[in-house]
Symmetry: C2
Subunit: 132 residues, 2 copies
Amino acid sequence: MSATIPDAYLDLLKKNIFASFVTLMADGSPQVTPVWIDFDGTYFVVNSALGRMKDRNIRRDPRVALSLSDPENPYRYLEVRGRVVEITQDGADEHVNAMAKKYLGQDVYPFRQPGEERVIYRIEADRISTMG
Amino acid sequence: MSATIPDAYLDLLKKNIFASFVTLMADGSPQVTPVWIDFDGTYFVVNSALGRMKDRNIRRDPRVALSLSDPENPYRYLEVRGRVVEITQDGADEHVNAMAKKYLGQDVYPFRQPGEERVIYRIEADRISTMG
């Protein structure tokens, strides 16, 4: 059974706030980058591209973490520990366009590189902590 | 030999920007929280308290990661992978007061709990990546 986001923190997922998203390198050491973040009501959803460091890391070890801070109050944040439970390219192009709409106000994701294949990672939260 | 911060990103460490700081749990899974961050010219410096989750995690496994994003441009960020090379309580009270000055404009750290013992973690960067 996955952890639940307290209602009082759902606003963080509706705004265009970046999440700090952590994956594990081959030697088990952590790596963190800011990412666009989505929540579908059940899973956190991150969109990346085939072959990138995050993609390779997640396929090796699905354990991830993420945090989201309120830009208006950095002492108010949501912290998630969990696992990627689904990796798929199905719908990943449409999804990255929806993310471009949320974060950039653009209908089509503008940063696509030649040959880039988008991938969706669905994350189940095992533990959610909040502060502030 | 530790990695070097490009001069063009040093401003991120002078502002009162929170870092997303990653430690590893006992089972090797990652955990991330926003923290106050300092850079002493050689090491990144984080201040926490004895017995906290971060403290316990670092003493077990010194491998950490952190990222710092420009609040005025979230596509501009600094990402660090490294190891805690020193854990000390020496100077930790003075340091947390200096951090309170940087982040809150206050001379004395105002969040101290009864019995809290502050700890400094000095982080050597093995790898620094920048974006934006």
